[in-house]
């Protein structure tokens, strides 16, 4: 089958060089063993030729005693070669298992480790399903290629070359006949293979369409039922399903026919060789060969066997090409993920534990003191320590996710340590964007953000983020126990500290009522909890990190107002002494903020305390009285 896509030789080279890099001994040894065993696979032809010559010689006299003496050493050498070949086969197949799995493991790890360094933008702009397919589909095709196609291809090529040499050794004319046949074989298989590839592409498209439809209907199954729309859905589905059947049928039919075609062209070549060989014998045509041997039956028989071997291996090799094309395409995507540009971090200000002396001077320490400071190395070499307080100052910030589409215009916010700042506005007004900028998930285009007086661009990202607790609307929990999920916020936290954080967040109550309390296993993103319970857990997780700054992006949106009122006291306590940025749909959540910023299309249109804004009777007032739709 002819590859439809161009093979990128660079990818091929990259796989080989990385394989060699990981296994500098095993890879060459494996390669040599494959070569050795394939060469030996071609050798019996020579022995057959010799043995048949012996048979011809002694057959008229039926003298087995003498013939045996001549055959015995041949057989012995053959056995010896076979033993070596089997050893080589054992060595390379066992090594291949190690190499393949080791290579895949290394690829997986470098993909995953590289992925951890990618900017949030990557995850926002790529579908999660697409990212996942690097780890599943693409890795699977690579595995197939490395573990099976590579060795099979090397083996087939080695055998083809080896057989070709032996054939030329015996007879050039006959070899030419064979090659003509093989060219015909390529021609036909190219035609059929092309048709197969075309329909396989169409099949993929049909599958994609049908899968999209199924996905939509499965998600909307309850709506379908409520409107008892089942029949119409089935009709639409059946139309798609029939189309898929047609394409799938044709694609496989072409692919299935290819095997018999190649196989039987092989048979025909075989006959052709036999007839031509017979003609040579009968007509006593002078032979042209590397060995200078005259043409005889003892050459023809092994030659026929070699014809089988030759066409068989060509068949094998062509079958591998498809797998290799697919594998290379998979490898290209895997490498693309590994080559994604990592998040840059030129920050050099770090967060360290300090001890505070009586006079207020700060000394760095390894001990866990609970007191933190920014360690700021200056250009002239001296170090300063600034206490971590949580003052955030955004100054005339502009930002665009895509060039030309500015979503924040000239936004300035000044949060003093311990203040609660709220953002209110319609979807797309830029509330979440502001929080994305604070912890540098995205970098600002223009303006400055200072954290405790330090430009956040100078702060190491990991330390910056460590100092800010973040609770998002969409709660993501990890497979593990409730306790482990809370501890995610601070890996050093004791059980006691985790429980206290849960109490603070108002989560303790429902956790203790779970079947196994804090040791209850959560799976599938905590699907066994309600959305509200998950949000409470996320708050507890942020609380245990004990950060000076907290960002709550619709963190209580799924907790009903009554429960919210109950957890409010805990929340107030949690927010005490921290700088808190709150984004909420529900105005009752933000009412008690020190400053409320009303955003509209990336502009701050109003700002002030609740009372001030109500008195102003502007947008906030309208929102508050329900005259406006918040969406």
């Amino acid at each position: 089958m002819k590859p439809k896509k161009k093979i990128n030789p660079k990818i091929f080279g990259r796989i080989l060089s990385s394989l060699y890099h990981y296994y500098p001994v095993r890879v060459p040894v494996t390669f040599l063993c494959i070569l050795f065993s394939s060469v030996i696979a071609t050798i019996p032809s020579i022995f057959i030729q010799k043995i048949i010559a012996v048979i011809e010689k002694w057959q008229p006299t039926k003298d087995w005693a003498n013939a045996g003496k001549e055959i015995f050493p041949l057989i012995m050498i053959l056995i010896a070669l076979y033993v070596l070949s089997i050893i080589a086969t054992v060595v390379y197949t066992q090594m291949m298992a190690t190499i393949t799995q080791g290579y895949l493991c290394k690829l997986r790890n470098s993909m995953f480790n590289g992925m951890q360094k990618l900017p949030i933008r990557y995850f926002d702009t790529n579908k999660h399903g697409d990212i996942m397919s690097h780890y599943t589909n693409d890795t699977d095709t690579l595995r197939e290629m490395v573990s099976q196609s590579f060795p099979a291809l090397i083996r087939s090529i080695a055998i083809i070359v080896g057989v070709l040499f032996i054939m030329l050794y015996y007879s050039v004319w006959m070899t030419l006949v064979l090659i003509l046949g093989v060219i015909a074989m390529f021609f036909v298989s190219g035609k059929v293979g092309g048709g197969s590839a075309r329909f396989f592409m169409r099949q993929q498209q049909s599958i994609g369409k049908e899968e999209g439809f199924i996905q939509e209907m499965m998600n909307g199954q309850k709506v379908v039922k409520v409107f008892h729309h089942e029949e119409q859905c089935e009709n639409d589905f059946n139309a798609l399903n029939d189309a898929l059947f047609e394409d799938s049928f044709k694609a496989h039919a072409y692919a299935n026919i290819l095997g018999p075609i190649i196989g039987n062209i092989g048979n025909i070549i075989y006959v052709l060789i036999a007839v031509v060989g017979g003609l040579f014998l009968v007509l006593n045509t002078p032979n042209l060969s590397l060995s200078g041997m005259a043409f005889s039956i003892s050459i023809l028989v092994p030659f026929l066997n070699m014809t089988k071997q030759f066409t068989g291996n060509i068949n094998q090799a062509t079958q591998q090409i498809n797998a290799i094309v697919m594998g290379l395409a998979g490898a290209e995507r895997v490498f693309a993920l590994m080559d994604e540009v990592a998040e840059t971090d030129e920050g050099y200000v770090t967060l360290v534990n300090v001890e505070v002396a009586a006079d207020g001077t700060l000394t760095e320490t390894d001990r866990h003191t609970g007191k933190w400071a920014w360690k700021h190395p200056h250009q002239d070499g001296h170090l300063t320590y600034t206490p971590l307080q949580g003052e955030v100052h955004m100054n005339q910030v502009d930002f665009a996710y895509e060039e030309g589409k500015t979503v924040l215009h000239d936004v300035s916010v000044h949060a003093m340590p311990g203040q609660k700042i709220a953002f209110v506005g319609a979807t797309g007004a830029g509330k979440t964007t502001i929080t994305n900028l604070l912890n540098r998930f995205y970098d600002i285009a223009d303006g400055k953000i200072r954290y405790d007086g330090i430009n956040i661009n100078k702060i190491k990202k990991a330390d910056l983020r460590r100092s800010m607790g973040i609770v998002l609307q969409e709660t993501n929990l990890f497979t593990g126990t409730v306790m482990e999920n809370i501890r995610y916020g601070n890996l050093n936290a004791t059980d006691e500290e985790c429980k206290n954080a849960a109490k603070l967040a108002g989560a303790d109550d429902f956790i203790t009522r779970l079947p196994e309390g804090y040791n209850t296993m959560l799976s599938g993103n905590g699907s066994n909890l309600s959305q509200g319970q998950r949000q409470l857990l996320a708050i507890a997780r942020a609380a245990v990190a004990d950060p000076p700054v907290m960002i709550m992006d619709e963190a209580t949106s799924s907790i009903d107002t009554r429960t919210e009122a109950i957890v409010q006291r805990g929340m107030d306590k949690l927010m005490e002494g921290r700088t808190v940025f709150v984004i909420a749909h529900r105005l009752s959540t933000v009412m008690n903020s020190d400053v409320i910023m009303v955003l509209d299309h990336g502009h701050v249109i109003e700002q002030g305390s609740h009372d001030e804004l109500i008195a102003k009777k502007g947008t906030y007032y309208q929102l508050y009285t329900g005259a406006f739709e918040l969406e």
């Binding site: 057989i75 048979n267 009968v282 039956i297 998002l472 969406e631």
Partner: protein, 581 residues
């Protein structure tokens, strides 16, 4: 399980049977070809005249074409049979799922249903094709080759008696040890992929807490663990290859040694050079067939998991049973709950609803309010039989809901679900879900009532505006209003809004409710809401707590009698009313 699945071959039985026939033909011819070539070789060796050589050669060419025809036709019919089989499986699964109750749907996640209908079906399709092609062909080839070998080679064929059991035993042992290892490792592999997905989804959390190193370490361990297991399993399977070589090589040596002895001692009468080389071909064919069989076996066992998952969908019995002779007419919109208890699954410990007694007259407006998990949605889902009560009776129009034909009942009860969903297609197409034959005028009326008309008209393409999959191109509030309009088009006797105006501003919300009062006075309206303003004017307000009705009555009554209601009211209106005044 296989038998059950085989039932879905249905109209593709003919191509399946034809495949088997063609494959048999191909196998027969393929085993005869070496026999004929042996003759050819002997003719040549014997120095016979050219005409004999050409005659045998022609026979061989004809056989090659016959084999090509059989193989090609088998390829064609097997593709048709397997693609058809897959088509039927998908069709029946989809049909089955359409008949599921909500309880059945809750059991399977939607993503798992998608996988079952796509990946799993494709796996089974491939296995089916392999099975009817190779699983038949291999044993046939094996048997025919052995027969031909004995017929032609006589005592030389003894080598098979030694080699076949050895190889078969070896293959069985390898498979026996490798299969469980692979099963284990595939499970782990799935879990690893799940955890990657978890990581990708939670990337903001990971980065927010600077847990990249921690995640790397966690992943590295799991990944290494899989590498070890996988390597072990692959190493076992890797033994197949040398095992096969040993057998082939043994056969080769045996045939050459013993064969040449026989050929010489009998002067070519019992066995000649041609047969000798044919014996080598048969040896190859026999051993390859065995190898193929073991491969097929592995593939089938691996796809058995897919088959099982498909059967699960097909075997799932809808938990909703319809009466033999159901009623098709719903008299009016009155609703009665009598001593209703309900739990989502028989296994659930706690009731989702307990001791519900309610009497709602036709045309009433009923508000339902309560905390998350208090049972509001559960309560209304029982009315159109999205779930069945565990104990007690629900009557609509004075008759037990179980007496109605499901479609008639659901036609009479329109429900706007909490999780609103629009489908890809135009606004018009989406609205027509409510009533396929609705005129444009009716569509506009419904939209006016749902306060959707105004914003639809601001779209350049109006009612023909395309809705993206999942309705991502309209705002939440707009989506909710479209869903209400869609439900209104059914002209229902009972209209249920399950928190369906949460994203709509209070003024529009009030307008919608006022419209209901004015234009559909006879329809019973049940409104679930978080906002107290959405329910306070209702004829009856129900307060749910922990799956029970905590209080019910009118606004003024409840302010006096229900602590919870009073609390919610004060909390939501605190400050607001002062400022509004």
């Amino acid at each position: 399980m296989l038998k059950k699945l085989a039932g879905y071959v249905q109209e593709y039985k003919l191509p399946t049977v034809l495949t088997l026939l063609f494959i048999t033909g191909e196998a027969v011819i393929e085993t005869i070809i070496p026999f004929m070539t042996a003759n050819l070789v002997n003719e040549i060796k014997g120095g016979a005249d050219m005409s004999n050589i050409i005659r045998v050669g022609l026979i061989l060419v004809v056989m090659a074409f016959a084999s090509l025809a059989c193989g090609g036709l088998a390829g064609f019919t097997s593709a048709k049979a397997s693609a058809g089989f897959a088509k039927n499986l998908r069709k029946n699964m989809f049909h089955k799922i359409q008949g599921y109750s909500f309880e059945n749907i809750d059991k399977f996640s939607s993503s798992s249903l998608v996988t079952r209908m796509t990946t799993d079906v494709t796996n089974v399709q491939m296995s089916f094709m392999m099975m009817i092609r190779i699983a038949i062909r291999s044993p046939l080839m094996l048997i025919f080759s052995v027969i031909m070998a004995f017929y032609m080679g006589g005592s030389l064929a003894i080598s098979f008696v030694i080699v076949i059991p050895v190889l078969a035993f070896g293959l069985i042992m390898v498979t026996k040890f490798a299969m469980p290892a692979f099963h284990r490792v595939f499970k782990k592999y799935d879990r690893l992929n799940e955890s990657i997905e978890e990581n990708v989804r939670a990337m903001r959390v990971v980065k927010g807490f600077s847990r990249e190193e921690y995640e790397k370490e966690k992943f590295g361990k799991a990944s290494e663990n899989i590498r070890k297991d996988f390597t072990k399993a692959e190493k076992i399977v890797a033994l197949n290859n040398p095992l096969m070589n040993i057998c082939l090589n043994f056969n080769m040596v045996f045939v050459m040694w013993v064969g040449s002895k026989i050929a010489i001692e009998s002067a070519g009468t019992v066995l000649d050079v041609g047969q000798l080389s044919a014996m080598l071909t048969y040896g190859m064919q026999v051993l390859m067939s065995l190898m193929m069989l073991s491969m097929i076996f592995v593939m089938l066992t691996l796809s058995a998991e897919s088959a099982r998952r498909i059967c699960e969908v097909l075997d799932e019995e809808s938990s909703l049973k319809e009466k033999e002779a159901p009623l098709t007419k719903v008299a009016d919109g009155s609703i009665d709950f009598e001593n209703v208890n309900f739990k989502y699954s028989a296994k659930a410990e706690k009731n989702a609803l307990s001791d519900i007694n309610l009497h709602i007259h036709s045309g009433m407006t009923v508000g339902v309010i309560g905390g998350t998990g208090s049972g509001k949605s559960s309560l209304v889902q029982l009315i159109p039989r999205l779930y069945d009560v565990t104990e007690g009776v629900i009557r609509v129009g004075g008759i037990n809901v179980k007496e109605y034909e499901l479609s008639s009942l659901r036609d009479a009860v329109a429900m706007v679900l909490q999780k609103n969903l629009l489908f890809s297609g135009t606004i018009k197409e989406n609205l027509r879900w409510g009533n396929e034959n609705a005129t444009d005028e009716e569509l506009e009326d419904a939209c006016r009532l749902a306060q959707a008309d105004e914003f639809i008209n601001t779209f350049p393409e109006g009612y023909d505006t395309k809705i993206e999959q999942g309705g991502t191109n309209v705002s939440g509030g707009q989506k909710q209003r479209l869903c209400i309009a869609r439900a209104l088009l059914k002209k229902p006797k009972i209209l249920i809004l399950d928190d369906s105006t949460s994203a709509v501003d209070t003024k529009t919300d009030a307008k919608i409710r006022a419209g209901f009062e004015a234009y559909i006075p006879d329809t019973t309206k049940i409104i679930i809401a978080q906002r107290i303003t959405s329910v306070m004017h209702a004829d009856l307000i129900i307060i749910m707590e922990n799956g029970r009705i905590s209080a019910a009555g009118k606004h003024e009554e409840l302010l006096m009698s229900s602590e919870i209601y009073k609390e919610i009211y004060e909390q939501q209106t605190k400050g607001g009313t002062e400022n509004e005044a």
